[in-house]
Structures are given as C-alpha cells and as structure tokens.
C-alpha cells in the first residue's frame, strides 16, 4: 500500500532553513539525503520532491472567463508544505515509522525538528466483491 508523507514547515516568508548556520544546514541536508537513500535501499521508494518556498507560491483559480486569477505570496501563512515522499510499504505502521524518522530531521544545533508529517494513504483499487 502506498502512502504520501507530507512534511510541513513553519512559514513566515522564505524557508527558515535559509538562515541557519552552515553546519546545521549541511547536517540537515545530509540527513535528508541519507533518508532518501534508506527508503530506496529498502525497496519502498516511489517518489519524492522538495517544493520551492512560499516566496514563489501562488494560489490560482479560474476567473469567469476561465483565465487564471492569481493570489499570493503568503508570508502570513502558519505553515507550508515543504516536500513529500511517496512510499510503498507493507503496513500503515511502517509508513508512520518512516514519517517519524523524517520528522526527526536535525535542525539548529542538531536538535531534531520534530516537524509534523502528515501521512495520507494513496487511493488504490477495491478488493474482491463477495
């Protein structure tokens, strides 16, 4: 079964990681690389992307003529989707375990960020019908 692990980050303008000391920043990036490597090695990786910061975010809806109406940037938003992983695992518990690992990514001074990771099941197909 597939799950999307969505990492939310506190917002307030650009990603706060940008203002971290180099050492902390590097440690964080290394952790993320090694996490991606782990789920690839375990044969559970489906997809993963990091998203550009709220500074580049726009909200779009269609106007009456169907043309796009854009809104944003959103410096006031409380939190923002920073990126996601899609994993293919044997149980929901395994998805939660992976999410907890990602949540413990090191922040300033190497202290775990413990960011909230939202775990959502990717919809699939129904089973037998009797």
């Amino acid at each position: 079964m597939k799950y999307m692990l969505m990492m939310h980050t506190p917002s307030g303008g650009p990603y706060q990681i940008a203002s971290w000391p180099r050492e902390d920043f590097t440690r964080h990036i290394d952790f993320m690389k090694s996490f991606a490597g782990k789920i690839k090695a375990s044969g559970e990786f489906v997809a993963a992307e990091g998203l550009a910061g709220p500074d580049l975010a726009k909200r779009v809806r269609a106007g009456k003529d169907g043309k796009p109406i854009t809104d944003g940037v959103f410096p006031e938003t409380k939190e923002f989707l920073a990126g996601y992983w899609i994993v293919d695992v044997d149980s929901p518990e395994r998805a939660y375990e992976l999410a907890a690992q990602a949540s413990a990514a090191p922040g300033r001074g190497g202290v775990p960020l413990n960011l909230a990771i939202e775990v959502r099941q990717v919809m699939s197909v129904p089973p037998r019908d009797d």
Partner: protein, 416 residues
C-alpha cells in the same frame, strides 16, 4: 522453417522456473543462477527460431550450466562463488549435486523454487516480487509497472529478498513434513495476494498493467499440477477462477464499479465457472476443509445463481459460519452479517452489526459503514443510509469504491 516467436516465448515462460530450479539446486547461488538462466533464455529466443530442440528443458539447463561453469571458473567470480556456495551447502553435498545432473534433467524443480521464493523470512511484498521474478519469469520492469513503483525500487526489493533468503540460511529443499503445511500456507497466501492485486485492477487506463491475475492463476495451476492432492491449493485455484469469471461484468464502461447484485450475469465467464465448480467440488470431497475452499464454495453459490434474489443465501450464511469458525476475521463476520440480512431481513442484519461494532479491528472501517448504509436503505431509513454511505466514502482508500458510495448517497438524496 521458422518458429513463431510467440510460441517460443510461451514455452520459455513455462520452462524458466523449472530450469532455474535445477540450477539453484546444483549451484545454490540464486543471483548467479538467475543471470545464467537469463543468458540461456536469450540464446534460446534467438536460436530456437530455426527449430525447437527435442528436449528444450535439457537444452536450457545445458546452456545455463555451461554459463555457470564459465562464471565459476573465472577468477573474478571465484571468491564470490566460494562465499556463496560454501555458505549455503556443505562440500560433500556440492559434489553429490554435481553428480546428479542426469537425474535433475527429468525433475521439475518449480515447486522447490516456489517454496524458496515464499520463504517465511520475507515480507509479503518481497515474497510477491521474488516469486513473480524467479518463478513467474516476469522482468523486473514488468513487475515494477504492475505495482506502479519505479523499476529501481523493484530491483532493490528483489535483490534484498534474495539476500534475506540467503541470510535466513534457506536451503533449496522441500521443508520437513511438520513444517510443510505452514510453508504451503505461505505460498498460497503469496499467490492469492498476486491474484487480488490484479483482480482489483480490471478496467480503464490501468488495463495496460501486467495482468497479475492471469499470472497468479498460471502459477496456481502449476502448483495444483505439482501437488494435486492438496485441497487448499485446489480450493485457491477454484476461488481464482470463480472470481475472475465475473471480471468483465464488474466494471462499467466508464470504469465504474458494479456491485455483485447489479452485475449483468450473462457476461460472466461460463467456462471459468464450470472449471471452478468442478475444482471446488473435488477439493471439498477430500475432507480437509480450509478457508480457500470455503471462499470458493461461496463464490460458486453466487456464480451459479441466475440473479441476486435466487441466490441460495441460507447456504452462503452456513458457509460463512464455517469460515468464521476456521479463522477469526472481522471481514468474514461482516460478510456473514450481510448473508444473515439476506436470509432474515435487514433489521435482523442491522442487529448483527451492533455486535460487530465492538470489534476494534472494524473501528472506522469503511466496509462496516457501507454494509450499514445498504441495510438501512433496505429497511427504509433513507436519512440513515445517506449518512452511512457518506461516512463509508470518507473512509475508503479506493477511488472506484468512493465514487460508487457517493453515487448511492446522491441517488438517495434526490428522492423526494
């Protein structure tokens, strides 16, 4: 005269697990044996177009053994081979294996290979991947496509599975008698998982996925041929046929889900039903009743009924009762409540659901809400039915099912 490539491909798929089995028995290095087989299969695909050899299996074994021998002789591979071979089989056994090539030629090792690939040390998804690769002969790319994961992920899963089997000290021999039953149970579960994954996908753009149901049925047929006396294997094959028979009627033109009671039964596959009924009858007569035989028997009762009202619901209720006694499964209990409602009416069925609600395994489970919605509708409680159809829709992880449930809620909301 040249031979049709399709005929060669078909023959090679049949022979691949047997040949791999022979090779793994002789050289217990799974990965290297597989490489050698791949080369032999490639050679066969090219050369057999001029004519298929008299003993195709012997031909493949000869070529693969030659490849393996070359590989073992190569200095670069020596250390690798020693580690692997020594770790898996003692030297005297190695010598004995090497001497027995002639007898191996006539032996079908597919069964041993299947048991190895469904080793209990493997997680379900790893066993599935390894079985499809080694026994089914599908390419890693095909398996990855079928499970909608990147090819690299599937390659990694298969390679880890081989490693796990090796680390578990698995030997290429059939398990001892006392262990055999449990191990066969794992094999059956793996084949059933493959079938279900394929059956769930039966319409729309996903048709391009490798047909896992057919593959599972092919492998189960093979297992049944090798173990004709095993009632649960026979039951599993029957269940697959009796379920697959409804495939064409199960989805509408837009890929929407059509539930059993509304399917156009003229579109059910009569040949598959006939074969499935014969198999399940034969299995039940063996006297070792198991869950797959009972599920097949239930499917057979549905398949033989001209419509939902003429279905023999008392018999289905009875069969679910037996099934529940064998395995304590809340989904079985839920299905039994549905059958109970068909026999004793929706209000009696709803009372049964009350009892099931206490089961923590059904907490927030969409099936419980879906069944409740259906029974409430039949009992004339429209508001309650709408509420529970919507709840079920919120809780399912299947898109087709969500569409179906929301359609039911919308249909009831429109009635004045």
């Amino acid at each position: 005269m040249t031979v049709e490539p399709d005929r060669i491909q078909h023959l090679l798929r049949e022979l691949a697990p047997q040949v791999l089995g022979s090779l793994v028995r002789r050289f217990p290095d799974f990965a290297a044996s597989e490489d050698a087989i791949q080369e032999a299969l490639l050679a066969a695909a090219m050369q057999w177009q001029q004519g298929i050899p008299e003993n195709p299996r012997g031909w493949l074994i000869q070529v693969a053994v030659r490849r393996m021998t070359d590989r073992i002789r190569a200095d670069a591979a020596r250390r690798h081979r020693e580690e692997l071979v020594v770790s898996l089989a003692p030297p005297d056994e190695q010598l004995a294996l090497a001497a027995g090539l002639e007898s191996e030629m006539s032996r079908d090792d597919s069964l041993d290979l299947l048991f190895l690939c469904c080793h209990p040390a493997l997680s379900p998804s790893s066993a599935v991947a390894l079985t499809l690769r080694a026994v089914g002969g599908l390419t890693t790319a095909e398996i990855a496509r079928a499970y909608l994961v990147p090819e690299a992920t599937m390659a990694q899963r298969i390679s880890r599975a081989k490693q796990t089997v090796r680390d578990a000290g698995a030997t290429f021999t059939m398990p001892a008698a006392d262990e055999f039953r449990a191990r066969l149970g794992t094999v059956i579960q793996v084949l059933y998982l493959i079938f279900n994954e394929g059956y769930a996908v039966s319409g729309g753009p996903e048709l391009t996925r490798t047909d896992l149901s057919s593959e599972a049925m092919r492998l189960t047929r093979m297992l049944h041929r090798l173990l004709p006396e095993e009632a649960e294997v026979e039951g599993l094959l029957a269940l697959m046929l009796l379920t697959d028979a409804r495939r064409a009627a199960r989805t509408g033109e837009a890929g929407e889900l059509i539930p059993l009671d509304q399917q156009d039964r003229s579109r059910w596959n009569r040949e598959e039903i006939a074969e499935g009924v014969t198999l399940v009858t034969s299995a039940l007569a063996r006297g070792a009743v198991g869950p797959f035989q009972l599920q097949a028997a239930i499917a057979a009762v549905h398949d033989e009924a001209p419509d939902v009202t003429k279905t023999d619901w008392p018999q289905i209720l009875e069969l679910y009762g037996l099934l529940l006694r064998i395995e304590d499964n809340p989904m079985v209990a839920l299905n039994r409540a549905v059958a109970f409602a068909m026999v004793h009416g929706p209000v009696a069925g709803l009372a049964r659901l009350e009892a099931l609600e206490a089961d923590p395994r059904l907490l927030r489970h969409h099936r419980l809400d879906a069944v409740r919605a259906h029974l409430l509708e039949r009992a004339g409680d429209r508001e309650g039915a709408i509420k529970h159809y919507r709840l079920a829709a919120d809780r399912t992880a299947s898109i087709a099912e969500r569409v179906y449930l929301l359609t039911q809620a919308a249909r009831l909301s429109e009635i004045d």
